[in-house]
């Protein structure tokens, strides 16, 4: 923390950005935002989607996305007005003084160019460095960021390296010209939880060692605690609260900041033991010895010898990183994919392997809620039709009955009944996810497979969906299989947990037992990756992570 205020590196005053829709109407999306960035300091812009945080950070570079334009205010970079520069001067400024790390490096790297060519492009074409000099500096940055094979990794194309590596390579691209200000826009959001802390640590070290000032954009308060000196909380394009990190975290003043704190992805203080006593009871659904694979001969094994059971009214959390096989397991249970061997039993009766062979009565019992509500809902069908169809198909309701049921169901998921006449694109992300859930409920199932249904949502909205799930379960005695990579969420809502890694369940049992030491190394790695609010968490977590990863590399499933 710097208490003496030197001349700010960047001074943003009254920044206002408006968006123009197709009819030419203007909406203000960033309204009168002011803040300073001191040399070498890190300020975090935090807020949910639509809060204007990305728009502000782009505005600092004198850029507005197509359809938006900066209508007022000033951005001064050490006394030089960024917004008044002609385009060629702006281009020089963007390549050298203020640089940007985008949210998804996988999408933001050019797939048709080698990584090195993109990293060194600006210093080489502006003549600031020769190609050889730039390459040497790039390799130094790759090494500093902890990338493997720093001498050769840049010769690859973006699709040939992993997401976590790409994100670091993008940081190297941003740092190559030694910028005065680095803008990081949700740089770890698209990564797996256990990769996230390694990348975050690399960024933090890089910023600290180069004494670069940075603007860190995120929706996750616990991440910000690790890197930022100051926090600016935003909502609907307006400033809600602005202050030093310690103060915001220890004593948030605005109610909205407190709501953000409450919904942050941190582990609950205490993990409740399951509500249902472990009386031996016939489970609703059982998975027995399932092995499954992809490929022409299903030779690429995605699941190995899976046993899992889900009781009546129970929530079973299935956690693991991308590629662990958790979604495949959901697909097997719902019959979207047939196993190579093993079986799925409902009420002790084996289910047919594929959806097409299952009786309608069986299909009705197990419904699926997909991750991306905006993709899973037909944008050209009214909500009433989307919800009414499964009612008629599974329950044989007539038109009038299903209309009444749609209204009732919409109330049940806390949406206005008038939404029956709306189309999915007119709804917000959280509302769409409610419709997505309502569609699964429309069949009156006993089990809903929820595949990462809160992962794409802002923390506060996600919390509301989880509350809804809990209340539905209480009223309807529903069972959930909750697939996620977020162990903190699972710790709050699940009765049982299955931890998956590389196609196997490495540990399963009641939630309190699985998450209380001693646990499997991989479970510990996942637990270790959940950010904590205290500001000194990151360094410790990275250290622990390296130890656990080394231990895991020696386990039998990793040797496959």
């Amino acid at each position: 923390m710097k208490s003496d205020r030197p001349e700010p590196l960047l001074a943003v005053r009254g920044l206002t950005v408006a968006a123009r829709d197709k009819r030419g109407r203007e909406t203000v999306i960033v309204d009168d935002v002011s803040f300073d960035v001191a040399p070498g300091a890190v300020i975090a812009l935090i807020g949910e989607s639509g809060s204007g945080k990305t728009t502000i950070s782009l505005g600092c570079m004198g850029y507005a996305r197509p359809g938006c334009h900066i209508t007022g205010g000033s951005v001064m970079l050490q006394g030089q007005s960024v917004l008044d520069q002609p385009l060629p001067a702006l281009q020089r400024l963007r390549g050298k003084d203020i640089t940007y790390v985008a949210q998804s490096a996988a999408a933001s790297f050019n797939g048709a160019m080698r990584i090195d060519d993109q990293v060194i492009e600006i210093p080489v074409i502006t003549g600031a460095m020769t190609r050889a000099e730039a390459l040497e500096r790039a390799r130094g940055l790759y090494a500093a960021l902890g990338l493997p094979d720093p001498d050769t990794i840049g010769r690859r194309y973006p699709h040939q390296v992993s997401g976590g590596q790409l994100q670091r390579l993008m940081a190297a691209m941003a740092m190559i010209s030694d910028p005065r200000l680095l803008i990081l826009d949700e740089p770890t959001t698209a990564l797996d939880v256990t990769t996230q802390i390694e990348v975050l640590h690399a960024f933090k070290t890089l910023i600290r060692d180069n004494r670069t000032a940075a603007i860190y954009v995120t929706h996750d308060l616990s991440l910000v605690a690790q890197v930022a000196d100051h926090i600016l909380v935003l909502r609907d394009g307006r400033m809600v609260e602005h202050g030093p990190t310690e103060q915001i975290i220890a004593a948030p003043r605005a109610p909205y900041t407190r709501a953000l704190m409450d919904a942050a992805h941190v582990m609950p203080e205490e993990i409740a033991s399951p509500r249902i006593a472990a009386v031996p009871e016939a489970p609703l659904l059982q998975v027995r010895g399932v092995t499954a694979g992809y490929g022409r001969d299903r030779e690429i094994i995605a699941l190995r010898d899976i046993d899992l059971s889900i009781g009546h009214g129970q929530t079973v959390g299935v956690i693991g990183e991308s590629g662990s096989g958790k979604t495949t397991l959901g697909r097997i249970i719902s019959g979207l994919m047939a196993p190579v061997s093993g079986e799925v039993l409902l009420d002790g009766r084996p289910l047919a392997a594929r959806v097409a062979q299952r009786a309608r009565g069986d299909l009705k019992q197990v419904q699926f809620a997909f991750q991306m509500a905006d993709v899973a809902l037909n944008p050209r069908q009214r909500i009433g039709k989307i919800l009414g169809r499964p009612m008629r198909f599974y329950r044989g309701l007539g038109q009038a009955e299903s209309d009444r049921e749609v209204a009732r169901l919409l109330e049940r998921v806390e949406l206005p009944t008038a939404f029956a006449q709306r189309f999915p694109p007119e709804l917000s992300g959280g509302q769409r996810q409610r419709v997505n859930l309502a569609r699964a409920l429309a069949a009156e199932p006993r089990l809903i497979i929820c595949d990462e249904i809160t992962s794409a949502l802002d923390t506060i909205v996600a919390q509301q969906i989880l509350d809804l799930l809990a209340s539905l379960q209480k009223d309807l005695n529903l069972s959930y299989m909750f697939i996620t990579h977020d162990i903190a969420t699972v710790a709050r809502i699940a009765d049982r947990i299955a931890v998956m890694r590389l196609g196997r369940i490495v540990q399963q049992g009641p939630v309190d037992q699985v998450l209380t030491p001693p646990c499997h190394e991989y479970t510990r790695l996942l637990l270790n990756s959940v950010p904590e609010m205290r500001t000194d968490w990151l360094d410790q977590a990275v250290h622990e992570r390296r130890r656990l990863v080394a231990a895991l590399d020696g386990t039998p499933e990793a040797k496959r």
Binding site: R65, Q91, G95, Y100, A107, F109, N110, M113, I122, H159
Partner: protein, 317 residues
């Protein structure tokens, strides 16, 4: 999948397509109305003579047998002789084919670079004046059929202004200058018919890439506009552009039939039209096979080029 494997598979598919096409061509010409023997002999046909011709041509053999006889002959390069005047079809096709090739290549050389350049130009400022003129003009051109464009060109440049010949017949004495003079109108007519489609596809492919996060990143890196377009956007749009170019070059094949007939140009297209009028079945079959092969090969080439242009395929994980 490895690159060679992908290309090998595409080639196999190409060969299979051509075989299928040969069946279609053969059966198609078989069901043309009229008896070939009768067509050859005309009014003087007696039942004996008709039978003699049928025996000589093997017309009484079953369809399948005649197909394989024709296929093996065609594959070995023997295209047969004209029923109408007994000339060797291969020689005639070589002569007229090279004329058509000159016509088609001249069209491609003018149309492809022009289309890509106009498409890029339109994409630099979508909704701007240049874009509106290019998009409007190309939309208008798409709406006119090729024969109408050709007739309009002739009536303006040949009839009204008298600058260029209305007929494109070729004499052996022609030098390069005569060739160019004769080719301008037919080439222009063909360029107009295929240009618009390529311009529009190039524009939309480039615009599509320009709205991607990778391009926003390049803008935020301060990449100058021209480099943004040529180095960042174009290589990513090249796949769809190659495809639409190949499709339109293949379209020239059907275009030449119309244009050659209109301009009386001695190429393959007119050869085939004349043969259809005379029921000269071997010529129709040979020309149809050539046109179909060009179509299939161009699309095959586009597929392979698009695969090669994609680094994800060139450098697998």
């Amino acid at each position: 999948m490895k690159l060679t494997e992908i290309i090998g598979r595409r080639l196999l598919i190409g060969v299979a397509t051509l075989l299928f096409v040969s069946v279609l061509v053969f059966v198609g010409t078989e069901i043309l109305p009229g008896d070939v023997a009768y067509a050859i002999l005309g009014r003087g046909a007696t039942p004996e003579l008709l039978q003699q011709v049928r025996d000589r041509l093997g017309l009484d053999e079953p369809l399948v047998v005649r197909y394989f006889v024709w296929l093996t002959a065609t594959l070995s390069g023997d295209l047969g002789t004209s029923l109408a005047n007994g000339t060797d079809i291969s020689t005639e096709i070589a002569r007229r084919g090279s004329n058509t090739l000159i016509l088609a290549l001249s069209t491609a050389v003018v149309a492809v670079p022009l289309a890509v350049a106009l498409g890029l130009l339109a994409a630099t400022r979508p909704g701007g004046a240049v874009d509106r003129v290019i998009s409007g003009a190309s939309l208008a051109l798409i709406s006119f059929p090729d024969f109408l464009v050709a007739v309009a060109l002739v009536s303006i440049f040949a009839v009204q202004l008298g600058w260029l010949p209305a007929i494109a017949s070729i004499r052996p004495s022609y030098d390069l200058f005569d060739w160019i003079r004769v080719l301008i109108l037919p080439v222009l007519a063909l360029v107009f018919t295929i240009l618009a489609h390529m311009v529009r596809m190039t524009r939309s492919a480039v615009l599509n890439v320009l709205s991607s996060p990778a391009i926003e990143m390049a803008i935020l890196k301060g990449v100058p506009r021209r480099r943004l377009l040529m180095r960042h956007a174009l290589p990513n749009a090249i796949g769809p552009i190659i495809n639409v170019i190949a499709l339109n070059l293949a379209y020239i094949v059907s275009g030449v039939v119309v244009i050659e007939t209109l301009f009386n140009f001695p190429g393959l297209g007119r050869y085939m039209v004349e043969a259809v009028t005379n029921r000269d079945v071997p010529i129709v079959q040979a020309c149809a096979m050539i046109f179909c092969s060009v179509y299939v090969l161009l699309n095959l080439a586009a597929d392979i080029l698009a695969v090669i242009a994609n680094p994800r395929v060139r450098y697998p994980k």
